[in-house]
Symmetry: C2
């Protein structure tokens, strides 16, 4: 079967009302039958940009209410403020009358070719060349079907892939490379998915079931050049059944293009 | 003049419709006449908890549309989903018909006495005892009136306070202690303010004017014990007129109780 491109998996059709869209959550972009949180945020981001006057998502904040099933959904987007240099938009995804995700966006124009003015304390991209990394298969070590891995090329550095063989490094960090198939380039919308593309960084500590994203916050910092992106995801603190994870995304020029923080539920064995 | 307590500065009155509240942005909780972004988020958080069935804010995401003037505002809160273990609420602040801040909240019950299960890579609290730190006065080095400093006791470690004398350390990190006056204890709502209480961490790199918060994302990780909290705020990347800053908050037992990320505008000299 041909892969379902990111563009096709996040395609919106105009709905019946202003700011309304219909879309289809793809069964081929799921983990254990559940759509990826970043993938859903990307669909909302597409709606946010479609109704606005600014072309790029700068900041996106999603709160997850209910995981939709693969199939049709409705997206409603509303401009909260249309400004000169930035605008704010609210978008929500509903399935069968049930709200699934609500998100706020700040949109703007990201200029090509900006340069970091100052930078400190950021993680650095992993050092393993892409060809030395291990591509993740369509099944997780715990047996879960991960259909999304047949639609993208996601590779982990060997040093952080020990969990797949039952030997997590214990550092709570995963590093790797992500490529959309068919040379599909990353844009700010695709970066909203990229920040949530890696398996939970907690797998590098201990293997658990699904680590559902409760909240995901993303900043797009620059326009990526074409090519695969490098990802590093780090768990910081597990407490009270919750974990926070940071993700950083660099383009193939080694430039930081996106960063995120998420809060996820974790059921310890 | 007696200080205006945090409870008084964030007090809500029931409005005319369900989920509606009126409040007053205090002129005494401002920086250069502008209310602090975390203070505004705390007011919205109070509304989110007031209409829901869960007592604590777990995650809060605010997008700032327009800075309100000190004076009356209206807050509208709506439950997006009322769940068993967590709920989601949207809240917005409007002044004279103009939307100022919109935020999404995930609320839950934070159990007292939880313990970290795993923790790595987090910053650690600063090491200077509170009595050795320098209390910030009601005026910034650039002459701006910071009335909020008369309502709280915010102290910086000497090593990170060099900017006030024109000698920033160049690390983009501020560390200090925050206490509410009159022994007012921190609760999860007050932590929404605490994460934004420090001056911009960019002051430790170069002095600029106002660094307005565009987006603020907060996770409350645990219930704080009574007493002052310790704060560390770090700038990561300045690019394209924007900076992201992380803040971590520890209670007086040294326990991480809140963490945040914000995206702010910065106008370089």
């Amino acid at each position: 079967m041909d892969p379902i491109s990111f563009a096709a998996a996040t395609m919106l059709e105009p709905g019946t009302a202003a700011g309304q869209f219909t879309a289809r959550v793809s069964p081929d972009w799921t983990i254990g039958g559940k759509p990826n949180g970043g993938y859903l945020l990307a669909m909302l981001g597409r709606a946010a940009v479609a109704i606005g006057t600014h072309p790029h998502v700068l900041a996106a904040s999603a709160h997850y209410l209910h995981s939709p099933e693969p199939g049709p959904v409705t997206i409603d987007a509303e401009t909260l403020r249309a400004g000169r240099s930035a605008s704010q938009v609210r978008a929500r995804m509903v399935q069968d009358g049930q709200p699934c995700v609500e998100a706020l966006f700040t949109t703007s124009l990201l200029e090509a070719g900006t340069k970091p003015h100052w930078d400190a304390g950021m993680p650095r991209p992993g050092s393993s060349p892409r060809q030395d990394c291990l591509r993740l298969p369509g099944h997780a070590p715990n047996g879960l079907a991960v259909t999304i891995m047949d639609q993208v090329d996601l590779r982990l550095e060997a040093a952080t892939a020990g969990f797949a063989a039952g030997r997590p490094a214990g550092l709570g960090e995963l590093r790797g490379w992500l490529e959309l198939l068919g040379d599909e380039p990353f844009d700010p919308i695709a970066l909203l998915y990229a920040v949530d593309a890696l398996p939970p960084a907690t797998f590098d500590i201990e293997m658990t079931g699904w680590v559902p994203t409760l909240q995901l916050n993303v900043y797009v910092r620059a326009l990526p050049v074409p090519g695969p992106v490098q990802l590093t995801q780090t768990a910081q603190l597990i407490e009270g059944g919750l974990v926070d994870e940071d993700c950083f995304v660099w383009d193939s020029d080694g430039r930081l293009v996106a960063q995120s923080t998420q809060l996820a539920g974790i059921r310890l064995p």
